[in-house]
Symmetry: C2
Subunit: 409 residues, 2 copies
């Protein structure tokens, strides 16, 4: 068990019609001139943007708007937001959307708080931010957890690099979550979101030692809940309870709660996917599903107690005499062979689950086919971003990374 | 499922030697003149107070000290703290202790921020606070959860009334948690703390409808974790892992996470115990254990799906064809009889668990014997404090309250 420094300060206002509280909430936090940042036209067409702006107007809050954020959000849009926010003397940013829009809003918030900063330098790791404008969101996709996390991921569309920056300064002040707002999503987006949510917990779960029972119990229960309700939404996308369970699980999976006591997590799949996403612009959650089974089979022997525990407590594999806290050996005979069999069964079941919810489990199924040259380029870029060795379950070299891409094809 | 407005802003700095960071943390939050508030002499004798003051001095932070907080902390000490803090121009309060000291600190923080306020008016519900000085803690007992909660409970020693006041203004800025600091506690205090932790989750669990699967999963896993490690500490009080698991479970059990989506919780046992504690000065957790089995048997029929689910998912009762999410009937035959049997088995197992960890399960075992007159007085006071009807699992009248006290004798 490791010590930890945990805080998750974002206030969550959850429930039906929650977006109508936007104006009063912004007023409560002292906002005077708000930049409303959003993605495509769906939030205009659905009337959501209109309801939110009406709420701001009723509260006497000035605002301007900037749409057009794309998935894997671009640095160019961030720079556009910084220019507009400067011109309009913005003091608060309200994102309407999912992870891409919220991430873009956080990056704009750093840029507006420090006029002398070239915001990409944060993502290059050149220096940390000194300040950020306050950010809040009206969440429309359950996936990235950005609504309560301290992280953001931006793609430099000129270089193809996709980079993350984490800083508590950027953690949103509040998040408005109405599960109904996610009902109109295409199923592929819903299920990619569910995969991303699960992966935020799993990235923190497959680590070397240090795990707390409290944290494991929360992580396992979040995973079981998402795995119960994701298939429900394939059949019944307007199921409020299922939407709500997944929405709240999404926030709790990435606000660091599921990392307390561990070594900071693995996050190899996320890094490997960031390269794929930077090069091919795939849907993030789907990219994670395409990589995870291969990654898991590549690393599980180095992290066997965690994969065995996962198989029994999350995937329902019969663990024989396995103690559910992972303290004992998994097999009835306690042999390493049976532990390996249990772990592999757990991985196979998760792979089957991804298929069941319509996710790809290989890179080709994702619809892209990187060349060997592109694989080497992604691995090299990933190694640069991660400081050579990547992950916790198994420390991956640049050769390991390339091999995982190849095996995942 | 109900909507909710959740925030838990307290930063947690967790691990060995964490108390040595007190000075730097206070500096980070701008503290200049700190009131160090504590209980008995044990934190002086153990050297903890000395380590903390050394850490403040190294960070150049002025401080004064006020000890002598007692369990079921007194309004008189709060007033003493307000007088001292005013005289010393304090800008930050650092509690060293458990719930009593932190609660006393919060009450002082309200009083110092509003010189015109008679602080007891908050507890009488006459008006809410307008401000509070920042509070932080070095936690030495895992129990009350006050280190991350927005609540505090103060006893007016002149009238015998014990009253709670909840307000996000009073939520601590940070909590320093070193599990080692709890190792010297007498077992009775440790186990009373574990009971209090469990009860904070159970009070939010036994409610009428509205529960979310995400919340239930977290609640059940917190309960299982505490029930696993509390007995470990009876045999091995210096077990770091057990101390750490319980300490972190204690904070998460009372920072509202286990209440998201429900109707606000039941809290009848807490209210009934507050009256006992106000009149007889019993240990809070032990008082809860003395009341819970009687309360549970008094109300379970009105809240059967929750008691059945609890029996199966937390107490390990064989639920037959019971769906673990509580969606189905518990018995193989689905009859109400078998649901009742399962629920009662769960209650009996929890009662047995309380006995196993040395807790009283009746009021007499608690060492006090209220007269009928005192019972009526406690019930009347409880009804006044709760606005006549108390609880969610079953709405209790003043007659119900008196009957529960009688049956719990």
């Amino acid at each position: 068990m490791f010590g930890f420094d945990y805080s998750s300060t974002t206030r969550v206002v959850f429930g039906r019609a929650a977006e109508e509280k936007a104006g009063l909430l912004l007023q409560e936090y002292g906002a005077k001139r708000v930049l409303i940042h959003y993605g495509g036209g769906s939030c205009v067409r659905s009337g959501l943007l209109g309801r939110v702006t009406a709420s701001l107007e009723a509260a006497g809050i000035a605002h301007c708007e900037l749409g057009g954020v794309v998935p894997n959000p671009h640095l160019g849009k961030v720079r556009e937001g910084i220019a507009l926010g400067t011109e309009q003397q913005i003091d608060f940013i309200l994102a309407i959307g999912g992870g891409s829009v919220i991430d873009s809003s956080k990056a704009i918030a750093y840029g507006l708080a420090e006029p002398e900063l070239d915001v990409w330098e944060l993502f290059e790791g050149k220096r940390p931010a000194k300040a950020a404008l306050p950010v809040a969101s009206v969440l429309t996709i359950s996936a990235a957890g950005s609504e309560t996390s301290n992280g953001c991921v931006i793609t430099n569309e000129e270089t193809g690099e996709k980079r993350a920056y984490n800083d508590n300064l950027g953690r949103p002040v509040f998040a408005i979550m109405n599960p109904e707002l996610t009902m109109s999503l295409p199923d592929y987006q819903t299920q990619s979101g569910c995969t991303d949510i699960m992966m935020h917990t799993m990235e923190r779960y497959f680590t070397q030692g240090g795990n707390m029972e409290v944290t494991d119990g929360i992580a396992e229960s979040l995973l079981r809940t998402v795995m119960k309700y994701a298939p429900v939404l394939r059949e019944d996308p307007n199921n409020y309870k299922a939407r709500a369970e997944i929405m709240w699980a999404g926030s709790l999976s990435h606000n660091d709660l599921t990392g307390c006591g561990n070594d900071g997590g693995d996050f190899a799949c996320h890094q490997l996917e960031h390269e794929l996403g930077g090069m091919f612009d795939v849907t993030h959650g789907a990219g994670l599903a395409a990589l995870w089974p291969t990654w898991a089979r590549y690393v599980y022997r180095d992290c066997l107690p965690r994969f065995t525990r996962f198989a029994v407590n999350v995937m329902g594999v019969d663990g024989g005499s396995f103690a559910s806290d992972g303290s004992g050996s998994a097999g009835g005979s306690g042999s390493a062979d049976s532990d390996e069999a249990i772990a592999l069964d757990g991985i196979a079941r998760m792979e089957a689950f991804f298929r069941k919810i319509g996710m790809p489990v290989t890179i080709r199924e994702l619809g892209v086919e990187p060349t060997e040259e592109q694989i080497l380029e992604m691995a090299a870029s990933c190694a640069r971003a991660s400081g050579e060795l990547l992950g916790s379950a198994k420390k991956l070299t640049v050769e390991d990374m390339a091999e995982i891409y190849r095996l995942a094809m």
